[in-house]
Symmetry: C2
Subunit: 421 residues, 2 copies
């Protein structure tokens, strides 16, 4: 292992080696010191406000992107304050390291313990929201991991200014600032090098549009925690409480349309569609939503345009809803199995048996009963903070918080036992 | 997700799609039925003994490999019986599925549960031990996973005969036999296709020599659970009990030299080396071991030849031991950090503080105190059976048993909650 790692060179390899050394020390640090670093990093961000906002202005001035994208890039006093408070909140979370996850004794007297340890070095590849990098540093720092940040080139100066301030906080807490690293420029080659950094980076966490995620998943030679899409379904079962269905569906689709936990497709049982669907559509239309749907849905509500099957495979991330009237729960489950992205699905019903069937059958990371898919979020799960949401099946699924950024080691305590035979 | 998956074609893709459908049903099956399939598969192996041993003779007749390799390939009545008993033992293990791993309620009344589920489809790539494929089927079946087996071409007929018998057992238990699959021939392209089967295979488990493992780790586009090497260290600290050290070192090195948990390097404190090292070497020499070592070691015992630094990076898997006399525990830890493969390391000492320092500092999957590294084995851990040992940090580390082949899903139970703001 050592040999192949040492043979790698270049900016990313050099950074990663430094980060690993620092992360090793961090993994053995006291939680008080890590918390102190988070608090001092928050303070350093506040102190550096002028420089950070100036860097952000510089990025905004040269960015050739859409207005929506510019809004995501933009920092101001309040947004920076939110980032700082986020770090302070992470400092308040319990220590995820050194926890005894399991312990048992074998008949030969050997004592086994499984103890939580950091993953090592996290590679964070993200687009342009400046908070993503800062949040990632906070979560990695708390969980004892080093992190290499590669943000979008449009926001490079902002990211550098934030990075510089956070390093000051880490130094002030007496920790090695090499636990966080950023390539010096926004050369795209750095992304490729991170994807191939076997033995140097332990896990990649990409955050951004689905084309970025697909690229990372396709090209990475190291494990990736991510969700390529959040094509979430809300299924209104025939035994749903109508008022509950109305309030949940409106929230699941329209609270925020751009997040991965937003519902993209409404499934509704034939038996209640005639009565309930027009009401649901009226509610959503009042909130600014447009609709595509299958023939049965179009037959019931004029506002629904006929959908192509591609529409049902589309994560709108917008005020658009795909609607399918389904025969029954089996039909709903088949639709989800065909089009779902493995993220989050919800059933609305008062029938416990139907809910149980739905939850046992859906293969997604998160299945919900009588609540809004928009709750799929680390904060709402009680994780305190999240670095992403994963839909793969290895390691972590669903929101990825500080606990999900840990691994474990086994401690085996003997009194001279040797293995027979 | 659905779209990219469906666009893949070829023998492996077609097999994998069938396996996934069957695995989905298996994931919802009753544990009694899965246990019954294991028991009936064991019976089917016994009934098919004549055909399996004939296929094995055919493979052996045409294999152009070393005698040691031929021995690993060879099946006989006893070895086949061991495979069958192994399946019956797996049937006796507790069900790893549907376990409530965690449960909590949020202030808004939402109830969260984390429940164990299968990983999905396992891709098993192995060399020529016929038991590896059968064990893998047993472990996957128990844990609700489908499995695609790709064994070494030298043993293809044996693997096919075993596979055919096990399918009969699965059918007899009323389960879909598509949960296990094997490509029809030993074309090497199948391996490449498995490595690239994103969305079709959830995890790859390679078993075999380090060149196979390195190849899989380098080329795979999907997660891999494996250990590339088992360069395990036993460190005899100055506060070791000498008798205990003698018995543990002899066992750790020589009980079986070809397994990944065998100790490859002995580290011993300067302070006791003059007195203890000659005794340890004498013990080992009597068992047939040869030695390379650093200058200090060579200076103390004639039998030790001067090692190159490459020797310390070598997993001997043979009756050869690398020996380094070290200044102190810091020196020992530095040696392990430089040459270790992240598998298993042991300290022999009566000094609890030194043991604690060793266990907190070593970054390997398994750290041991006063016992033999040869205990790094799923059976010895109490897992009942293992499909491999992992040294990565994502998902599972150490022995991979039925529990390690599970993932989880979140169930979120509401009563109409919608997300505010």
């Amino acid at each position: 292992m050592a040999v192949s790692t040492l043979s790698q060179n270049g900016i990313i390899a050099d950074l990663a080696k430094k980060v690993r050394v620092a992360a090793y020390d961090l993994s053995r640090s006291d939680v008080q010191q890590r918390n102190q670093a988070l608090i001092l990093a928050a303070q350093a961000l506040r102190s550096a406000e002028t420089a950070i906002l100036a860097a952000n202005m510089q990025d905004l001035a040269s960015a050739k992107v859409s207005d929506a994208f510019k809004d995501r890039m933009t920092l101001n006093h309040d947004r920076l304050e939110n980032i700082a408070v986020g770090l302070e909140d992470i400092a308040k979370l319990p220590d995820p390291l050194g926890k005894e996850l399991a312990a048992w004794t074998r008949p030969n007297g050997l004592k086994f313990k499984r103890v939580s340890v950091p993953l090592g070095v996290v590679g964070m590849i993200y687009e342009s929201r400046p908070n993503v990098g800062a949040d990632a540093v906070g979560i990695c720092l708390k969980s004892g991991n080093g992190v290499i940040l590669r943000g979008g080139s449009d926001c490079h100066h902002t990211a550098l200014a934030i990075h510089k301030a956070m390093k000051q906080g880490i130094i002030a807490a007496g920790l090695n600032p090499d636990i966080i690293a950023m390539p010096p420029d926004s050369d795209r080659q750095h992304v490729t090098d991170m994807l191939h950094a076997t033995g140097l980076i332990d896990v990649l966490i990409p955050r951004g549009g689905s084309s970025l995620i697909h690229f990372v998943q396709k090209e990475a030679r190291i494990p990736v925690l991510a969700h390529a899409a959040g094509l979430c379904h809300t299924y209104v079962h025939q035994a749903a409480d109508f008022d509950m269905a109305r309030s949940i569906v409106a929230n699941a689709k329209m609270r925020r349309t751009g997040i991965c936990g937003a519902t993209e497709t409404l499934l509704i049982d034939q038996a209640i569609a005639k009565k309930l669907l027009p009401v649901l559509i009226k509610d959503l239309k009042a909130l600014g939503c447009r609709f595509v749907g299958n023939q049965e849905a179009c037959g019931l509500v004029d506002e629904i345009k006929l959908a192509s099957s591609e529409d049902f495979a589309t994560e709108w991330l917008d005020s658009v809803l795909s609607v399918a009237v389904v025969k029954d729960i089996e039909d709903a489950l088949a639709h989800i199995a065909r089009y779902g992205s493995g993220h989050t699905e919800a059933i609305i019903t008062q029938d416990e048996q139907a809910a149980r069937q739905f939850m046992d059958t859906v293969q997604s990371a998160v299945v919900m009963w009588n609540t809004s898919t928009q709750f799929c979020d680390g904060g709402e799960f009680g994780f305190g903070a999240e670095i992403g949401i994963a839909t793969g099946r290895l390691h972590a699924r669903g929101p990825v918080g500080i606990e999900q950024l840990t691994s474990y080691r086994y401690e085996v305590l003997g009194s001279g036992q040797v293995r027979p035979k």
